[in-house]
Symmetry: C2
Subunit: 207 residues, 2 copies
């Protein structure tokens, strides 16, 4: 398998974290989204939606959407629940992540880290951060009586939500008001074979 | 099962369409999102994220997120592929739908149908419609050589994408430039046990 990715992407990091924890070998290409490398004809032939991460499978086909890639890799493993209801709850939290969390937790981080300080998209920050706090409040409430998001067991739902939550302060979203979320972040970071967001695959070293 | 829903919601309609096609009986409550009925304490106890559709299962627990509900209902049926790769592709298109399609196809329709003509959110329309056209172009390209989104077979990926695509013109997103998408819409509407968006469950009559 070969992962087309961007090192600073939390969506890409989800896949890198799971691949490390599944002990699966893979090739890795950094595609610089800031330089338009996801909009070239070559890349669009891999993913017509022009986004990383995109995983090339061994049969030469490509799979896109970080959470669909997580599902593909984890199906049948201990990272996906064995019950129908548990699987649906994992998907519920992964769809929550993409719809109610990522645009308001990840996008502020992107604006702050990748765009100039006078960029007009800075005007989006207050509205996005308000919804980011709403997403964190939902997570805080859910974790009040739980160690992990589904069945009290670490799963791809935790990986999907961890990726941008643990770096939320990079976008101005402070975690001080969410002690249960911070405890859960520590539990995720303590899992076996954990790797960090900026660890370059195959090197074991952070940039 | 009991579905908490809002009749004009495409996300709710996805679940109604699949339930009809699976011949599954269910109770139904219309929750008026325009009157804040998803923000009451009673509703937030069912779904802390305050959104419809939310499905109460027979054991009294609740499942949220339209596409997670589709997966729960369809798992093991002919509406989900039998192969690992097919299942991942279905999820890829369902995550595409929630991240790259729904905010730009469904939200303009909501703004046009549910908010006053002088509402400040009208200013969002041009930007959203531009991204809506980008999503439709991705679908048009994918359907160039296919009858349905995955494995050339009707699945919950088609249901998820059909729900808001077939009413995209309600939000000002015209489908004239997408003949493959329009042919696919016709194929979906010709499926057995098809119901329409505004068909009230259990009555067989449109409002």
């Amino acid at each position: 398998m070969h992962l087309y990715d961007y090192l600073d992407s939390g969506n890409g990091y989800k896949v890198r974290l799971l691949l490390a924890q599944l002990h699966l070998p893979y090739g890795w290409t950094n595609v610089d989204i800031d330089k338009g490398e996801t909009r070239t004809a070559e890349f669009l032939a891999r993913n017509a939606n022009g986004r990383i991460p995109t995983l090339r499978l061994d049969d030469g086909t490509h799979l896109a959407e970080s959470n669909a890639i997580l599902w593909y890799l984890a199906e049948g493993s201990g990272f996906v629940p064995a019950t129908r209801q548990g699987r649906a709850q994992v998907l519920q939290w992964m769809f929550f992540e993409q719809y109610s969390h990522e645009p308001y937790v990840a996008t502020p981080r992107y604006i702050c880290r990748h765009l100039p300080a006078d960029h007009p998209r800075r005007a989006e920050l207050p509205g996005r951060l308000e919804k980011g706090h709403a997403a964190l409040a939902v997570m805080e409430g859910h974790l009040a009586a739980r160690s992990f998001f589904v069945d009290d067991k670490y799963s791809i739902a935790d990986i999907a939500l961890y990726a941008y939550t643990h770096v939320a302060p990079d976008g101005g979203l402070e975690l001080g008001a969410y002690p249960r979320v911070r405890e859960w972040l520590s539990r995720v970071a303590a899992q076996a074979d954990y790797v960090r967001l900026l660890d370059v695959p195959g090197t074991g070293a952070a940039t």
